[in-house]
């Protein structure tokens, strides 16, 4: 993977140099993007729809799944990197405190810490950068394929390969389930907002900094509402892609770091009218297990899933090390 990272970095440097030197302009970059990404994705999508009963909606579903499966390793690597970075945040905070007046030393010690912990500060950026062009390509392909204005239809003529099985699919069938994929849809808007909120809630890492906390809280609502609004106005084919990609991201996120800060009521907590309080990050290899937050996390013996939060009147007592224990477990052991 370091090799891949070096290649991406080199490509970026070369791209910037070419742009700055004026050897290539934005027109050439757009043309290259269209040639290498947009056209292959769009044509594959159109061809796929031919094999899927002429349904462009089904083609979007299948292609989204294919792309997300192909980029699964990159996504999980990115999430693992983010998780590792979060895990060393207390140590970084300590360093900041310790070397508050010596910026150079702070930098050196931080880099040393990264090295010791095997964490790269750019580890979560590169996998994302790798996926970005594919996402933009798919986004553009959906927009181009579903545009029903004459300009969009004519634009399609520039992007489609002159191969009969592809050309025969034009105009594309824009009906899927209850959707007209070329028009906005209120239900898809709600789905986009809900799935994005869920994903954000799962992936947002709690911060000790009050400013970051309030910013995080605001973003948790602003982004889903914004995309929900976009989904009302953009072609619902694009919303279909957003919802699917969010759902797949939720699955990946769950596999890497569990429910995160998303409150998921467990059966036992529901019986007791309580809600699980998850932890900021999983502390062990217990991936996927919801955990408790902050100090409470240290004071609770959690089950595999569905641990019950601490609070007044909870059936817990302290053990001899001063840690809380579930009364029921104690009673069970006592028997």
């Amino acid at each position: 993977m370091p090799k891949a990272r070096t290649i991406i970095l080199l490509l970026l440097v070369v791209l910037i140099m070419l742009l700055v030197s004026g050897v290539v302009g934005m027109t050439e970059i757009v043309a290259a993007f269209n040639l290498l990404l947009l056209r292959p994705i769009l044509n594959f999508l159109v061809l796929l729809s031919g094999y899927l009963f002429g349904s462009f909606g089904l083609a979007i579903v299948v292609l989204t799944v294919i792309i997300r499966v192909l980029t699964w390793p990159l996504t999980t690597r990115q999430l693992h990197s983010a998780k590792a970075m979060q895990a060393i945040q207390p140590k970084i905070a300590e360093l900041r405190k310790k070397y508050a007046k010596d910026k150079q030393r702070l930098g050196e010690e931080t880099m040393k810490l990264y090295k010791e912990e095997g964490v790269s500060p750019l580890g979560c950026v590169f996998p994302m950068l790798g996926q970005l062009p594919i996402w933009i390509g798919l986004y553009q392909a959906v927009i181009q394929g579903l545009g029903i204005a004459p300009e969009n239809l004519l634009g399609l003529s520039k992007q489609l390969y002159s191969w009969a099985p592809i050309q025969e699919q034009v105009p594309l069938n824009s009906h899927f389930l209850w959707l007209d994929l070329g028009s906005g849809d209120i239900f898809m808007g709600i789905l986009v907002a809900a799935s994005m909120w869920t994903l954000q809630k799962m992936s947002t890492q709690p911060s000790a900094d009050p400013t970051q906390q309030s910013m995080g809280r605001a973003m948790l609502w602003i982004m889903p509402l914004m995309f929900g609004f976009f989904a009302l106005t953009f072609p619902s084919g694009l919303s279909l892609y957003w919802v699917l990609t969010n759902l797949i991201s939720i699955v990946i996120q769950y596999r890497v770091s569990g429910w995160g800060t998303l409150r998921v009521p467990s059966l036992s907590s529901l019986r007791q009218g309580r809600i699980l309080q998850p932890a900021n990050t999983p502390q062990s290899g217990d991936i996927g297990a919801p955990q408790l937050e902050g100090a409470e996390a240290d004071s609770v013996v959690s089950g595999r899933k569905g641990a019950v939060g601490a609070g007044e009147g909870s059936p817990r007592k302290k053990d001899r090390n001063g840690k809380h224990r579930d009364k029921r477990k104690v009673r069970r052991r006592g028997r």
Binding site: I143, G147, I148, A149, P150, E151, N152, L153, L154, S157, K158, S162, A164, Q167, E168, V170, P171, D180, G182, S183, G184, L232, T233, F234, P235
Partner: protein, 358 residues
């Protein structure tokens, strides 16, 4: 659309403008109403915001795509909202109590014959409207095709010819709305171009990159093989002296023998290459074929030799069909929302910014 000394033009801003060609002063880009350069310019459609356009699934769509048609002192035009308007040619007032509504968007133009207006819509139907009332014509059930209609219909000898994106060309009786042929003519792609009728033959292009010639009476193909280009045909073809001039989205202008469907031999370079897609229909002025490509370049091509006689660059995309009258060419450029007038030798007479007409 030129009618006598008057030019009627629809803009993407939703206005239909009546310009008086004889009163036009060449040195003034902004026309004056008091000098009689323009008579009326009612706003038939609100352009709306990007969001109001998007609500109908018309992301980025404009307002008036089809060219207006003039008949019985009335201007008829279809809007992207799906409404057809009838405007009094003299004063610019609405003729009908309310516009006629189709169930979809109108991209092509309208055709008027024998008191009936025909218009295709994205609801997949060809509608017939009684021009005296502005209501659906009695006894004519809107003819449903398998997909959207973006092609402009043509009426000849009581028969309406039009294409549909369901890849077929239709011929239906104007009075009953019944199919004339045994079955519509099937191609390998959507049919968006306006059919060209020459004598007993209908010429039209398709998204399968082929230009077809079929007999108007039977719907049987005339050529052994349709003519094949490198990309879709969108613009209406043109006929002159045994040759069909057809522009393809492959950037080329083809001169095709109308009888055989083969490339005509007269041109030194056939096809004539341009630098961008050609979406607007060409016109002939004298012995010059005038073609405009999307990038804003206007070409004057010698009809006999196929050589380029002149070229102008308007630097504004040209999508609307060109029109000609009295040796002049009129075209509407989209980005600067301006009407340009050229003579047959490419000399620019004048230009008018429709945005400045208030």
């Amino acid at each position: 659309m030129v009618d006598g000394d008057t030019l009627f033009v629809g803009s993407m801003g939703g206005r239909v403008v009546r310009l008086e060609l004889s009163a036009r002063q060449e040195d003034k880009r902004v026309p004056s109403k008091s000098d009689g350069e323009w008579v009326w310019a009612p706003e038939v459609e609100q352009a709306g915001s990007i969001f109001s356009c998007a609500q109908g699934g018309q992301f980025g769509a404009g307002v008036l795509y089809g060219a207006p048609v003039v008949g019985n002192d009335t201007v008829y035009i279809g809007a992207y909202s799906g409404k057809v308007y009838a405007i009094d040619a003299e004063h610019g007032d609405d003729v009908w109590e309310e516009p006629f509504e189709t169930g979809g968007s109108i991209v092509g133009g309208v055709a008027v014959a024998d008191g009936t207006l025909f218009v295709g819509s994205s609801d997949g139907k060809l509608h017939a409207v009684d021009v005296s009332t502005g209501r659906a014509k009695r006894g004519f059930e809107p003819y449903a095709t398998g997909d959207e209609i973006v092609s402009t219909p043509v009426v000849q000898d009581g028969v309406v010819y039009f294409g549909s994106l369901d890849q077929k060309l239709y011929a239906i009786y104007a009075d009953t709305g019944k199919l004339k042929w045994d079955e519509p003519f099937k191609t390998g792609g959507g049919v968006a171009s306006k059919p060209l009728i020459v004598g007993e033959v209908v010429y039209f292009g398709s998204f399968d990159s082929k230009l077809y010639a079929v007999y108007a009476d039977t719907g049987e193909p005339k050529w052994e093989q349709p003519f094949e280009a490198g990309n879709w045909f969108w613009a209406e073809a043109l006929y002159h002296d045994g040759i069909i001039y057809a522009c393809s989205l492959d950037h080329n202008v083809y001169a095709i023998d109308a009888d055989s469907g083969e490339l005509a031999s007269g041109w030194s370079t056939n096809p004539f290459p341009t630098e961008d897609q050609i979406r607007s229909s060409p016109v002939i002025v004298g012995d010059v074929l005038v073609v405009a490509s999307e990038d804003g370049k206007v070409y004057g091509i010698d009809l006999e030799t196929g050589e380029e006689r002149w070229q102008r660059d308007l630097e504004s995309s040209i999508l609307a069909p060109l029109c000609t009258a009295a040796g002049k060419v009129y075209l509407h450029a989209r980005h600067d929302n301006t009407v340009y007038a050229f003579d047959g030798e490419g000399g620019q007479d004048w230009s008018v910014s429709l945005t400045d007409i208030k």
